[in-house]
């Protein structure tokens, strides 16, 4: 393992327990994403790794064989990309990118060569001499990345580096960023609260909730086998079905669904894309709203479950609001999770 975190916790002076004791291991060249809702402790964990925040007593941070728990930031050799980019407005693009190298005391010529190289890699040639203020958001993001890259950090930390951008640019830069990170084989931790972003970039995603890592795994594992209701909801947009489970049957207001196995005492979840309109389906529901979304219609349904149930329907037409429809949900697409975990 390149980076080993043991027992990392953080209580802020005010008493907020931002992070409960957490362990995490990251392999060489791996990209791990910290995904979770606002306030769950993502930034806190990242800043502790960077050395910008000190963890509560008992923590241990190892980098390969070095114990860096008490090393000051400037000696940790971690690169960091900030949400606000934190580019130095008083330096040009070149100046920013070369700053870390200058701090390492490299000779001028070597710095120049390395800066040129990074500028080329990040396709920043046209802007190299510009002032930071003369760059667009996307260009700034690339400079911030280049600046963090340049000193060849052992570990790159990125705190929501895309969240200040608008949606279109974000998608594009997300792909570029993923490509760059892989190209260099950089070990990186990427913080985000956007599920798509986390999945698109990371090898493994650590889903965080209220100061804990709720589950860590590949995007597919998280999506297909969420271990807690929180992960099911946050990563897969699953809807709780509610109702009552008796053996292999789920009794709902609109009908009864079959389950793959007896699951008494558990809770059932389903994704909107797994709810199908089926002429002879076991559930009855009333259409309350229909939205055409291009590739599909999103249909809001009442009466099937206690809450509104959504169905993503592909096809050339859709039922009208007010109509009554029948629905089917395949037993294997129903997620069964422990209710105590569902409380998380």
């Amino acid at each position: 393992m390149t980076l080993t975190l043991r027992n990392i916790a953080k209580t802020y002076p005010g008493g907020t327990r931002a992070l409960l004791p957490t362990d995490l291991d990251i392999a060489e060249g791996e990209i791990v994403s910290l995904l979770g809702p606002s306030g769950c402790g993502k930034t806190t964990l990242l800043r502790i790794i960077a050395g910008l925040e000190t963890a509560d007593a008992g923590a241990e941070i190892r980098f390969k064989d070095d114990d860096i728990t008490h090393q000051p930031v400037e000696r940790r050799k971690v690169g960091m990309v900030f949400q606000s980019y934190a580019l130095f407005p008083n330096m040009s693009v070149r100046g920013n990118i070369g700053y870390g190298l200058k701090m390492q005391g490299l000779p001028r010529a070597q710095i120049d060569a390395r800066v040129d190289e990074v500028i080329a890699l990040c396709r920043l040639e046209p802007y190299a001499g510009r002032a930071i203020t003369a760059l667009s958001g996307g260009q700034r993001q690339r400079v911030a990345l280049a600046r963090a890259f340049a000193p060849r950090p052992r570990l790159l930390l990125l705190d929501e580096p895309l969240s200040a951008l608008d949606a279109a640019l974000r998608g594009q830069l997300r792909d570029e960023l993923a490509a760059l990170l892989r190209q260099f084989g950089i070990t990186a931790i990427f913080v985000t609260h956007d599920q798509d972003e986390a999945m698109a970039i990371a090898d493994r995603v650590a889903v965080m909730s209220q100061g804990r890592v709720a589950q860590i795994g590949t995007p597919e594992a998280l999506y297909r086998a969420p271990q807690t209701a929180f992960v099911a909801r946050f990563v897969g947009n699953s809807m709780p079905l509610g109702g009552r489970i008796e053996g292999s049957q789920l009794h709902l207001p609109g009908g009864t669904l079959a389950l793959t196995a007896p699951s008494d005492g558990k809770a059932a979840f389903v994704r909107a894309e797994d709810v199908r309109l089926a002429e002879h389906g076991p559930l009855t529901a009333r259409v309350t709203a229909v939205t055409f979304l291009g590739t599909h219609y999103r249909i809001a349904l009442s009466g099937a479950t206690e809450d509104t149930l959504f169905c993503l329907h592909q096809g050339q037409s859709a039922p009208k609001p007010g109509e009554t429809v029948r629905l089917a949900i395949a037993p294997q697409s129903i997620l069964i999770l422990s209710p105590e975990k569902a409380a998380a």
Binding site: G79, A86, M103, R147
Partner: protein
């Protein structure tokens, strides 16, 4: 009434007041400076009278040194106060900003209390603690009222600096003094220029302090006052006023165009 008309109407009181009591008197002042025996040659006369020139130079020198000192002290204190939270910080901040509206006369008096014959320093170092009436006393007086002004401007700017900038520099391996040099000072530069300009302008125009200290060190406002009170040499007083106004306004204007408008309350 249309919106445009209403907005125009809102400017009417200001226009009337500013014309009557600012524009016209200033024009009158300029005219008055040319009504002496020397006519408009009075400005030429100022430039060829060593006494006026030395005073001008002295005034500028004192103001410049005060500006530098105030910037150094207030930047140090301002950065310290923005970046550290501790018990007593609020009190310290109040102490440092309270003299903001002390008139120059009061400040002069404060300096007498510190460095006069009866002052604190003379009590501690008898015979060696009298500085109130020297140019150093004047300097301290100007420093006294410049510190709060500069401090407020610097702190306002320091609070706006994104803490991530400093953190970014540190993750790139910069030690504290490099962070200060490469990140903080450049980020504060516009505020420092603005605050410095205000300190300079205030020192240039300060009259009350010199008046209270009543030293025989001449600064331009004192000379203007003397010209006015020495057989009412109104033309010369007006000409010197015009000169002083142009120099200080010019400095402020330069600073403002460099740094955008920033202003701290002051008397």
């Amino acid at each position: 009434m249309s919106t445009r008309q209403f907005v125009a109407l809102c400017l009417v009181p200001l226009a009337i007041f500013a014309l009557t009591f600012l524009a016209l008197p200033l024009v009158r002042l300029v005219l008055a400076s040319g009504e002496g025996e020397a006519g408009w040659g009075i400005y030429w006369q100022i430039l060829h009278t060593p006494r006026y020139l030395t005073t001008l130079v002295q005034t500028v020198l004192v103001s410049v040194s005060v500006t530098i000192a105030a910037l150094a002290v207030s930047t140090t204190a301002g950065l310290f106060l923005t970046r550290n939270r501790f018990r007593g910080r609020a009190v310290l901040l109040s102490i440092l900003t309270l003299p903001l509206a002390f008139p120059g006369v009061v400040v002069g008096f404060m300096i007498i209390l510190l460095g006069g014959r009866q002052g604190l320093f003379n009590a501690i170092f008898p015979g060696h603690g009298v500085f109130a009436y020297s140019i150093f006393g004047l300097f301290l007086g100007y420093l006294y009222f410049s510190i709060p002004r500069v401090l407020l401007t610097v702190m306002a700017a320091a609070e706006k600096i994104d803490p991530a900038l400093e953190e970014a520099a540190r993750t790139l391996g910069a030690p504290s003094h490099r962070v200060l040099r490469d990140v903080l000072i450049p980020a504060l530069a516009p505020a420092l220029v603005a605050a410095g300009a205000i300190a300079f302008a205030t020192a240039m125009g300060a009259f009350g302090t010199a008046f209270t200290l009543a030293t025989n060190i001449d600064v331009l406002p004192m000379v203007i006052y003397t010209e006015f009170t020495l057989s009412a040499n109104i033309a010369m007083a007006a000409a010197l006023s015009v000169l002083l106004g142009i120099v200080t306004w010019g400095m402020l204007f330069l600073a403002r165009s460099f740094s955008g408008s920033t202003i701290a309350a002051g008397g």
